[in-house]
C-alpha cells in the first residue's frame, strides 16, 4: 500500500500538480495567518483587543471576512488613469509573490522547485513586484501616487544591494546557490553563530525596507501621501496589493530563515514545522518593528542604505571570504 503510494508519487505527472497546489495552499494560508497576527499583536501592543467578532473565537476569521467583502466591492478606475496598466498592476505585483513560494525548501525532500540557482531566482522574483508598484504609481495619474512610486523606486534600488550582498555572503559560506544545499550545510543553529550574524541583520533590515514596512514606509507615508501608489485603488485590486505585502513578509521571512537560521532544521525532529515556527517568529519581529519605531525621513533612509548597509555588507563579504579561503573555521 505504502509502496504503491510511493510509486505513484515518483511519477512526475502525479507529483507535479500536488506540488503546485501545495504551494498555492501555502500562499493562501500563511499570509492570512500573518495578517491576522498583525491585527492582534498590534492591538495588544496598543492596549486594544483588535478583531473579536468574525469566526466567534477572537476574530480568527477576520481576514476571510475581509476577503469576502473585498470581492463584492465596486472597482473604481479613475477617468484620468491609464486603464490597462492600472488594472494589471496588482496582478504583476502578486504573481511573482506566489512564484517565490515554489523555491523555498520546506523540508529534507520537500522542495517544490529545486534549482542550482534557487537563491538567485528568489531574489530576482521578489524584485519583479517593484514593477507592479511602479505601474500602479504611474498609471493612477495622481500626484500622491506618483510621489509614492518615485520614493518606492529609490528605496527599493537602494536596499536591493545590501540584500543581494548579504545573500552572496551566505552563498560564499555554503559554496552553493541551491537553497536546499544551503540548508543542508548549516547546523540547526544556522549561520548566526559566526560573522554571518551581521549578514542576518543586514538582510533583515534590507528585507524590511524592500517590503516598504515601517520604519521604512516612506513610499506609503499616510500622513503626507495618503497611501502612496495605492491611493486610487479600491476593492479587490487594493486587496491584492495588501496580499502581496503579507505574502512578501512570509516569503522574505522564509528566505531569511533558510539562509541564516537553518531553515527546516531544529534541535530535534527536523521538518517543515521548524521553518513554520521560524517564519512566524520573524513575522512577529516585523510587526513588532512596526509598532515600535517611527518612520525614517527620506534622506536618512537613503544614507542609511548607502553609507551604512552597503559598506558593512561589502566588508562582510571580505571577512567571510578571508575566513573561508584561509580555512579559519567558523
Amino acid at each position: 500500500m505504502i509502496d504503491a503510494a510511493r510509486d505513484l508519487l515518483d511519477n512526475y505527472w502525479v507529483l507535479m500538480p500536488v506540488k503546485v497546489l501545495a504551494v498555492l495552499a501555502i500562499f493562501l494560508t500563511f499570509p492570512l495567518v500573518v495578517g491576522y497576527m498583525e491585527h492582534k499583536v498590534m492591538a495588544h501592543m496598543q492596549a486594544r483587543l483588535g478583531p473579536m467578532e468574525a469566526g466567534r473565537f477572537h476574530g480568527v476569521l477576520q481576514l476571510v471576512a475581509d476577503g469576502i467583502k473585498f470581492v463584492q466591492k465596486e472597482s473604481i478606475i479613475p477617468k484620468a488613469a491609464d486603464k490597462w496598466v492600472f488594472a494589471l498592476a496588482p496582478a504583476v505585483a502578486l504573481i511573482p509573490a506566489i512564484l517565490v513560494f515554489g523555491f523555498i525548501p520546506y523540508g529534507p525532500d520537500l522542495v517544490p522547485i529545486r534549482s542550482d540557482v534557487g537563491l538567485f531566482v528568489t531574489l530576482a522574483l521578489s524584485s519583479v513586484s517593484v514593477i507592479g508598484v511602479l505601474m500602479a504609481a504611474w498609471s493612477s495619474a495622481n500626484k500622491y501616487s506618483l510621489m509614492g512610486g518615485i520614493r518606492a523606486a529609490a528605496q527599493l534600488i537602494a536596499y536591493e544591494l545590501p540584500l543581494v550582498l548579504a545573500a552572496a555572503a551566505v552563498a560564499m559560506q555554503a559554496g552553493s546557490a541551491d537553497l536546499a544545499v544551503i540548508v543542508e550545510r548549516q547546523g540547526w543553529w544556522g549561520y548566526i553563530v559566526g560573522p554571518l550574524v551581521i549578514g542576518f541583520f543586514v538582510y533583515g533590515t534590507a528585507a524590511l525596507a524592500e517590503l516598504t514596512r515601517p520604519p521604512f514606509d516612506m513610499p506609503v507615508a499616510d500622513s503626507e501621501l495618503v497611501f502612496g501608489h495605492l491611493t486610487e485603488y479600491t476593492g479587490l485590486r487594493f486587496a491584492f496589493f495588501l496580499l502581496t505585502e503579507y505574502a512578501g513578509i512570509v516569503s522574505q521571512s522564509a528566505i531569511a530563515a533558510t539562509l541564516f537560521l537553518g531553515g527546516w532544521k531544529g534541535p530535534f525532529l527536523d521538518g517543515p514545522w521548524w521553518l513554520a515556527a521560524k517564519v512566524l517568529a520573524l513575522s512577529f519581529v516585523v510587526i513588532w518593528a512596526r509598532s515600535t519605531y517611527p518612520r525614517l525621513r527620506e534622506d536618512q533612509l537613503q544614507s542609511f542604505a548607502w553609507l551604512r548597509l552597503v559598506p558593512v555588507s561589502l566588508a562582510l563579504l571580505l571577512v567571510v571570504g578571508f575566513l573561508k579561503v584561509y580555512e579559519v573555521g567558523i
Binding site: S140, A171, D299
Partner: protein
Amino acid sequence: MTTYFQAYGTFAALLVLSIAFVAVAFGANRLLRPNRPTPGKLTTYESGMDPVGTTWSQTQIRYYVFAFLFVIFDVESVFLFPWALVFADIGVAAFWEMVVFIGVLAIGLLYAFKKGVLRWA
C-alpha cells in the same frame, strides 16, 4: 527525482496556476460587484479638492544619481555570485583578486560620498 527540465515544468505549471488564480478572482469580482460610476467617483483624488494641473505632473527626482550607483553595484553583484560559488576551490589568488575588485568599487562609493552625491540636494 526530478530532472532539469521537470523543474522548469513545475515552474511553468505554478506560473499558469497563479495567473489562473488571479483571473478567477477578478472574474468572481466582476460577477459579484456593483457598477454605478458617477463623475465624482471617477475624479482623481486630491484630498477632496478638484484636481489641479496635469495629472502626470513633472517631478524633480532628487536621487537619480543613486540609480547610476545602483547599476554599478548591481553589475558587481552579478560578478560576485559566480565567484562566490567557486572561489574556495581556486584558492587564495581568487580571493585577493576579488579584494582588489571590491576595493575599487568601495573607493568609487567613497568618491561619490566625498563629492556630496549622497547628500540631499
